[in-house]
Each structure stands twice: as C-alpha cells, then as structure tokens.
Amino acid sequence: MRQWLHRIVRRVRALAQGSALDRDLDAEMRIHVEMEAEALVRAYGIAPEEARRQALVAFGGIERYKEAHRDARGVRWMSELAQDVRYAARSLVHAPAFSLSAVLVLALGIGASTAVFSAVDAVLLTHLPYPHDEALVRIYEQNSPTNRWGLSVVDFHAIEAQAHSLTAVGAVQQREVAVTADGEPEQLRTGFATSGFFRALGVRPERGRSIEPGDERPGAPPVVLVDQAFAVQTFGGAANALGRNIMIDGIAHTVVGVLPAGVNELAGMHARIWPALQLDPPTRRGPFGLYVVGRMASGVTLDVARRDLAAVSVALLSAWPSFQDHVARLTPYSLRESILGSAGHTLRLLVAAVALVLLIAVANVASLMLVRATSRWREISFRTVLGATRGRLVRLLVTESVVLAIVGAIAGVAVGAAGLAVLKTIGPSIPRLDGARLDLRAVGVAVALALVAGVIVGMYPVALLLGRGAAAALREGNRAVSGGRHAHAIRGMFVVTEFALTLPVLAGAALLLNSFVRLQRVNPGFDPARLVAIPVALPSARYANDSAMSAYWARALPLVREVPGVVNVGLGASMPPDYAWTFNNFDLIDRPVPPGGAQPTSPWTMAGREYFATLGVPLLDGRLFTPADTGGAPVVVVSRTWAEHYFPDGTAVGRRLISGGCITCPLTTIVGIVGDVKYQGLDGSGDAVYEPLTQGWTQGLNLFVRTAGSPAAVVDRVRAVLRSVDPAIPLNDVVPMEDRVYASIAQPRHLTTLLGGFAVAALALAAVGIFGMLSYTVSARRREIGVRMALGAPHGAVVRMIVRRGMGHAVAGAVLGLAAALAGARWLAGALYEVRATDPATLTAVTLLLLGVAFVACWLPARRAAMIDPTEAIRAE
C-alpha cells in the first residue's frame, strides 16, 4: 500500500517535472562519461580528448538512453500522445477534402440528432412541474376508443362525492372573457377553476390564499387568483394585487392570491387569471364542457381508478335519465399523456428519422476513414519496418480518428444548438418545446457513437497488417490487392447499409408530402378569400340573457353591413376549419339507439341566418333559418355529410331528434341541408349541426365579414362601429380566414418540412457514400482499366462495369430498405391523410428516385474511368 502511494507520487512528479528530471538525467550521464574518461586517462594515459571520445562511444547514444529512461519513468505515452495529436492534426490538415467532408458529415449527423433528441427529451421525458405528476389524471367521458369528450357538472359532482381512488379532483373551464382592471377592457384567456383543481395539481399561490371550497358555492363573493406577470403589469407588483378588484365578464372579483412566477399555464390550460368556478345546480345530465383533473391516492393504479370511475358512471345512468349512453364511461388518462397527445407520436417519428440519418452519417464517415486508412497501407508498412510497434501504430491511427470525431462533435454541438433554435421557431407547435435546452447526454451519445466508429475503422489497417506482415505489404506496394479487396467488401457493406437506411426516411417523407398535398387540396367548405372573423365576447354581467344579447346584435349588425366595402356579415359560434364550438349528443326519433348502445354525437354550433351566405355555404335542401325560429318548435340545419350519414335514403329534412338527451324539451326538427364545412380540421369529417341564434344566444360569437376588396381597410371601420355601439366590449384581433386555413395545417406542414429535410440529408449522404466508393474503385483499378482499354474494351463497357458494380450495392440496399419501410409502415399511419403507409405508388416512386440518384453518383466516376489514358495508366506503376 505504501509502496503504491510512493509510486503514484513519483509518477505524478515525473509528469509534472518531466523536463527537470531530464536535466537531472543529463547531469548524471555527463558525470558518468567524465568519470569514465578520467579513469581511462588514469589507467592508460591517453590524452583527455581521446579518453572523452572513447568514453562517449562506450556509453552509446545518450539521447537513446534518455528515451529508454523516460520509458522507465512511464511518462513516455504522454509526450507521445501530444506528438500523436500534433501528427494527426497535421495529417488531417494535409487532407482537407477528407477532413472537411468527414467533419461536415459528423457535425450534421450529431447536430441534427442532438437537436431533435433534446426537443423530445423536453417534451416527452421530462416530468410535468407538479409533485408526483405520475398520479395526476385527466378524466374524460368516453364511449369508443376514439371518441372522448369533457365532463358535465353532474359527472364532476358525482366523482367528487363517490370516487374513492382519487384524493382530489378539480374542474376548470377556459373562456375568453372581458377583463377590466384599469381602464380599457381586455379580452383575456381565463381559467374558471374549482378549489380541487389547485389541490390536485399541488399548486399553491406564492402570496395570499388559494381558492377554497367555500368560494365555489353559487352566490359566494367572487374571488380570483392571478399570475405573477398579470399582478406586476396591472398592480405594479404581487404585494399590491391582494385585495384589489378586477371586473371579469362584468362581475367584480377580489384578488385573493398570486401564483408563483413563471406559472402561465396549469395542466396544459393557458390562462392569466383563475377565478373560482361557481357551478349552478344542474337540471340535466349535460352539457359536457368541464376539463377535469384528479390526483390518484397513493398506491392506486390507472386500472383501479378506471374501475372506480366506471362504477360511478353506471350509477349515474339511473339517476339522470336525460343521458342514456350505456357505453360511455368516465375514463382517466395520465395527465402527461393527455397534455402531450399526438405530439408524442410526431416526435417519435422525428427521432426515428434523425436516428437513421445519424447512422447513415456515421456509416459514411467510417467508409471515408476506411479509404484513407487503406490508402495509408504503404506508410504504415514503412513505419512497421522502421521499428514502430503495433501498439504505437494503433495509437497513431486511433488518435487521428478521435481528433476527427472531437472536431466533428464540437461542430455538431454548434449545429445542434442552431437546429434546436430553428426547431423552436419553425417547428411543429408542441407543448413545452419552449423549455428545451440542448441535451448534453444526447451530445455524449452521438459523440460516443462517432468515436467508436472512428476507432474501429482507424484500427482496420493495423489489423490487416497483423495478419500479413509488413514486408509483404511493402513489396506489394499500392497494389496491396488482397487488403484492398477486403476493405472494398467492407465499404460495399457500408454503402448497402446507407441505402437501406435512406429508403425508409425517403419513404416516410414522401408519404407525408403526398398526404400533405392531399390535405392542402381539401375543400374547407367555405371561401376564405377576403373573409375575416372578428371574435366578440359580450360581458355576461350586462348581457346576461338572450334579449340583451340579441338587442346588441340587432343594433350592431345593420351598422356593420352599411360600412363601405362590406359585402356580407354573419354571426357564428364556431370557427372553421378547426373549431366546432361544441359536441352534442342526440337521439333520432326514427332510429332509436338500441339498448346498451352509444348515442351518436356530432359537432354542434349556432349560427345566424346570414352565416351561410357570408361564408359561401350553399343550401342544398329544405330551408335556412327564419326570424320565426325562436325555440317554440326548435329547428336545426344539418350538413350534407351528416344527412347522408344518418339518412342515406335522402330524407333527412323533416326528421326529428332529441337534442342533448333532453327528453322533456320539445323535439327538434331538421329543416334544411347545407354544404359541408370542416370544423374538425381539414382531415376531419364534414359532419355539422347548426342551431339558429334566435333559439338561444351565447356571449362569445365570431362576426364573419366578407369584403369587396382587401379586408385591411374595412376592418378598422367595422371595429369602430362595434365600439360605438358599446365601448366596454373588448375586441380581439381580427382573424383573416385564409390565415386560419393555412394555420390549421401547420402541424403536418412542419412535420413534412422537417422529415423532408432529413430525407434530403439522407439522400445526399447515401449519394456521397456510393460516389466515394466508386471513385476509389476507379483510382485503385486505374491500371487494370488501362489494360482492358489497351486490349480493346470500348468506353461503354468500362462505364457499364463500374456502374454495374455501384448499382448492385444500391439495389441491394434499396431492397433491404423497402422491407424496413414496409415493416415500419404502421408507425406512420396515424400521421397520414388519405394515403396508406404502404402506398405502392409512393414507395415505387421513392425507390426509383433513390436508384436514380445512385445512378448519377455511379455514372460520374464511371465516366472518369472511361477517360483513362491506357498508355499512361499502364506506365504509371
């Protein structure tokens, strides 16, 4: 033990004072030579000069001994490492084409993969910012694997009272409402929440108190929690906010608490202020509009909670006959999963694509290094003959690979940081992507992969040498045929791999592109040109009932219609192509739901009579609304798809239904059929049911305005008119409908763009790989080609020979890739619209594209081969 310590100390000293020890050794050896010389003078009486010469000869090369001595000191490898790194750097600088391409390929591979991985990590792998977030669930009503919706007040109260598996449950309702704190009214996203919402999440205000159960009672003094930014902006600080009043939807609320800084959303709901949600006692089971979260008791699994909630659902059926969907169950989902939704799937696709690109990049670099290593065969043989040990050679070559990988990694980190920034700005809008930081673990994994590949390939020539002996290699010179052939086979495998990996990426990108093009061609059902929507939220305090609301619009609409440049105006609660206002269940009188079956549901909205003309939706059958449709005998208008869906025989007009399970309400009659409008996204169905506004108003409506020319000039005047009718109504930004349609397919567009980018990168890498391999073949077989041509082989035959060799690899890779693409097809299925993931036309097209690019990449070196001058090529060796 003490001896070990002693040695370690000495080693460290040797490293630290290397040159001092060298000086020490110098002196010692000098003294040795002097003593020897003096002894010679004494013994034989030779002249001192001669004696010194003899002594030096007897000693031998001092430098060599110093080297041996340094070896004994165990520090040699350090100085050699520095030497190796210098040497590697020099030799890489001397081969700029190789070094640049290798570093570039590595940087792109590492950069892209780390950027995407970091994004995925931030979104998928990180926890939600709540204590024990794995116990949080979101609860839905669900009657089929794909059909789930929100909860009703009845559902919520039943869960509160009866679910034993949950320790806390809370409801929230998000609305855009008019908020007046100081001066101008503002339309703000507001989360009306019960006390259990904050309790379940484990979120406590930083100042003041949370919402308490007493605040939820109808008639209790209204209270509100605000976020830090709102408190600072409105009251100049969190401390000043407590006890102050703000008008929310026309009702004064007292600020009782300020949420911690940085909280701008809770459980995926974005809101600035959180008033207490006061739920009036329900008169029927529906409507289903609450967002409900719960916290499972410790030890309770999702399965236990599911069974518990199912029991609650069954009990509700007998208590509330207005809703008799015997299949529907209250169903808990992990909150994390429900917030991320399909984003998780999208990101996994990106990860798969980028992992393939990284592998292609690494295969490419490995292949590049292999060429370089094989071409250094002669140099390495020389070094061996001159006495370099195998270990030393391995170190030399491995150092070069490592230097390359490190430079590539540094460039990769830069690319990754930039890539992540790009992903955040132009990428798919995914919850929590903003928080993504470049992940060092990801960088580590990518760099390790590059290093391992580099080291393995770097050692390849030494491995060959061990098998063959340096002298033989030297004799063979550059025509080291067998080694070359071996290396060639490996390169060929790399090329096949690259093509096999590229095809699935290409296929994925092409399928998404195909799907996206179809999506873009989808008719949204209305003409978005020169059409704008102005969202208007009437404060519910002053516009509490139908007559107040209809009075406002009765004054405002004629004024807006008179603004010059306005062609048409209409009111609607929904916002096509992706906001349906609500979903409602209904029972068709002529087609009762069989016992135990599920009630049908449909996108459900409210509209004024002019809505259809303004949007350009045609009336196909029956009639539109009239002023006489005031609710005594309720009517609806349905879309063509809806009518065909439920009445395929074409007799929808005149049929009657029960709306929302209200069996005590008068029956609703279908009076007309209009053209389809998309309300569930362009890839959604055209189902829709419209109620006339005259049957029941709502505070939040969109005013659709069709203009003759550019809307920009007209819109300001329309807003001025609206403000003149009631200045207390906040007006939100105008939504140009063309933008809205464009934005509704932002997600697939981003995904297509990103995957397209990866596909181009993969294709380029594969092309570079096959081009590099064949270029090398041509230069290595220069002499042979020269001989063939001297013997009369035509140019065409030479070109064919080279191209055939390359295409053989490309085809093999493409076949493997096609198999992989088919195997992975189901992955992509969810992201596609009207295209099957195994679409033969698309797969054929990408295979042909890949082989076409491969052909060009093969033909270029082949043409060079055909231009070889036979006499020159033969004489060269």
Partner: protein, 111 residues
C-alpha cells in the same frame, strides 16, 4: 575489450547485481558499473543504456534511494543507497538465484 569475452546479462539479473553492489555501501552510477565489472573480473559489462533505466526502476519500486552528493574525489554525483525493503528483496532474490543457478549447473554437469 572485445564483446566475445563478455557474457550478456540475463534479463532480470541486472537488478540483482545492482542491489549487490549497493549492499556494500552507497555508490554513484559510474561506480556501480565499475564495481560490477571488477567483481565479475571484467566478464560482465553493464550497458550504460540499461543501467540508468534500471536504477530508475529500482528507485520506483522503493528498493533504492537516490540523492545528490559529493564523491571522495570532490565531484558532484548522484548516489544510490539500498533501502531496508531493497535489502530484504535482495536477500530473497539471492537465494532464489542460487537455487536456480545451482539447478542449471547440476543439469549441465550431469553426465
């Protein structure tokens, strides 16, 4: 002074010889090589190239200690001294060597 007169040192025996010279007292490098030559009647020649690395190695193992001093002739030199561990090691190695060389001799002189 031709090479044929001299025996090449068996690997590993150099350490033993160095330790032996130092049993008699501290010596500098040149002194060690001279002492080995003398004691072996000019048969064993320690290549200087192997002497100094060997000295370092022995010092590394803690069997000898080195320090700069002044020789009886008034010359500054690095002197090597046997440590207690070195003495123990030497004794063990010496009996090992005697056993070995005796056995080899016995084999070779067998008739």
């Amino acid at each position: 002074m031709t090479m044929t007169d001299r025996a090449d040192l068996l690997q590993g025996t150099l350490d033993l010889l160095i330790l032996k010279t130092l049993v008699l007292g501290p010596l500098h490098g040149w002194g060690i090589s001279k002492r080995i030559r003398q004691l072996s009647s000019d048969v064993l020649e320690v290549g200087q190239g192997s002497l100094y690395p060997a000295l370092y190695r022995l010092e590394d193992k803690g069997w000898i200690r080195a320090e700069w001093g002044v020789s009886p002739e008034g010359r500054r030199a690095k002197f090597y001294t046997l440590t207690a561990a070195g003495k123990k090691h030497f004794t063990a190695e010496r009996s090992q060597w005697r056993l070995f060389s005796g056995a080899v001799e016995q084999v070779l002189s067998a008739t």
